[in-house]
């Protein structure tokens, strides 16, 4: 069971890798369910936050860790911080969700239902990388190309333009080269990570 390479990188189970990256020990969770009770999107999730904690606690069984990494939950989590604020064990669940998203991406295990959300994040970061800021119109167009959701929101654009909220040209920062270097350095360290 401990031979699954995806789950057992560096001979460590997923919860250990989460601990290493975030300092958050999911073992401390005693399954009170308070996080799931307050989570605004628990009803939309395949596993509410307390169950994600449980899957990680059972991470000796690779299929449990796998479920967490392939879950829709990790992409639906809004980082609203309600769970963390209410957890009696002060477990930083949103931080765990971040770490799970990063692993899920690296291992190409992103839940197909989350493709739209991910396309949005990528379009957002592309805008930041090339202009230093978010160019709202450029990002929405980029997102539409990536996600294929062309029609949605199109009717909103003329109104936004009319009230002066939408700009046709991006604002650019002066030191865009530095931004380019930051993104490049981070891409490089990510390649070197296991």
């Amino acid at each position: 069971m401990r031979s699954d390479t995806d789950i057992q990188q560096d001979g460590k189970v997923l919860s250990d890798r989460v601990l290493e990256k975030t300092g958050v020990a999911v073992a401390r969770c005693y399954q009170c369910g308070k996080c799931s009770a307050g989570c605004p999107l628990a009803s939309e999730m395949d596993f509410p936050p307390s169950q994600i904690m449980h899957l990680l606690q059972l991470g000796d069984f690779p299929e449990m860790a796998e479920k967490a990494l392939r879950s829709h939950t990790i992409w639906l989590c809004l980082t609203c911080e309600i769970c963390y604020a209410r957890c009696p064990m002060e477990i930083d669940i949103p931080k765990v969700m971040d770490a799970l998203r990063h692993e899920s991406l690296a291992q190409k295990k992103v839940n197909p239902k989350a493709r739209g959300i991910l396309a949005f994040h990528r379009a957002f970061l592309d805008s930041v990388r090339y202009t230093g800021r978010l160019f709202e119109m450029g990002q929405v167009i980029d997102y539409k190309l990536r996600s294929g959701h062309f029609l949605q929101d199109l009717l909103q654009a003329p109104w936004m333009f009319f009230v002066g909220k939408l700009h046709l040209l991006p604002e650019r920062i002066r030191d865009r080269r530095l931004l380019g270097r930051i993104f490049a350095r981070i891409a490089k360290t990510r390649e070197n990570r296991p």
């Binding site: 639906l76 990063h102 929101d153 002066g164 604002e171 920062i173 530095l178």
Partner: protein, 285 residues
């Protein structure tokens, strides 16, 4: 004491009335708010969803630029940007090795001297704010804090995470009557405005329905994302709940501006999706 201003991307675009009203109020109060030099986007939800180093590097570059410019504090009116900048400062002050690593990434020697301040803290720090009120904002209001002004408590160290009061106190100073309600710190759907509008309509619908059912005349916000979801997404919200909801959503700086007698146009009230029509009334009625 030098206070810098970090507008963030939305205050330059979809939330420009937040910036307009803040600057109009600051001018009246005689406060200067120079922008952080050559500021970049904080990375928002996208960055921390994708990569931790990026999520720390983008705000670190902003904070380092403010520090280099001699700013002692940075006012960050967008609650979402405020969260990213606060989390970054907190984590980098907590961990020297991480601070050095991120400093290297952004080619600056980040020390963490500039404090990160939200709009409520900034307004609350103005002595005798009441004295500036010429036309009391005499309306029943629902103060909506959202998620990131008060959470996570260990990072923002501001007000209390459940049933906060700071915004209510400010609105009282403006002559308003804040209501008790259940959705002060519930989530509006945040960054899903474009990618999962359906979920935003659902969550924001619950917030507006509670405010209306308890007799609020306006919802007061301090975050461009909350405004976008509660105001611009109103057609989708109405479709979701199956009825018309007319309650306007007003930035705290717009409410203050009105109370100070600044004309509505200067506060950008004409830019809202939901018309801001408040019937005049006396504080007693």
């Amino acid at each position: 004491m030098k206070t810098g201003f970090y507008p963030g991307c939305s205050m330059k675009g979809s939330a420009r009335e937040y910036s307009e009203s803040l600057l109009a109020v600051a001018r009246e109060l005689g406060r200067e708010l120079p922008e952080v030099p050559d500021w970049n986007c904080c990375g928002a939800t996208a960055a921390h969803n994708i990569d931790t180093d990026l999520a720390l590097a983008l705000p670190a570059r902003i904070l380092a630029a403010a520090e280099k410019d001699g700013m002692n504090e940075v006012l960050v009116p967008c609650a979402a940007c405020y969260s990213r900048l606060s989390v970054t400062r907190h984590e980098l002050l907590d961990d020297e090795a991480l601070r050095n690593k991120i400093s290297g990434l952004v080619e600056a020697d980040y020390q963490g001297t500039a404090k990160v301040v939200n709009i409520i803290e900034w307004l609350a720090s103005i002595p005798d704010l009441e004295a500036w009120v010429k036309k009391p904002f005499a309306h029943r209001v629902a103060c909506y804090y959202g998620c990131l002004l008060v959470r996570p408590p260990g990072v923002v160290k501001f007000d209390r995470p459940e049933e906060p009061q700071s915004m209510d106190l400010l609105l009282k100073k403006m002559g308003a009557e804040p209501i008790d309600w259940a959705f002060k710190t519930e989530c509006c759907g945040a960054g899903f405005s474009v990618s999962r509008t359906d979920l935003v309509a659902k969550l924001s619908g619950l917030i507006l329905e509670d405010a209306v059912s308890r007799g609020a005349e306006a919802v007061i916000v301090a975050c461009p994302m909350c405004h976008l979801n509660l105001d611009m997404r109103r057609p989708q919200i109405e479709k979701q709940v199956g009825k018309k909801i007319n309650i306007p959503v007003i930035y705290i700086t717009q409410a203050l501006g009105l109370a100070m007698g600044i004309p509505a146009r200067k506060l950008g009230l004409q830019r809202h999706k939901v018309a801001v029509k408040l019937s005049p009334r006396t504080a007693e009625s």
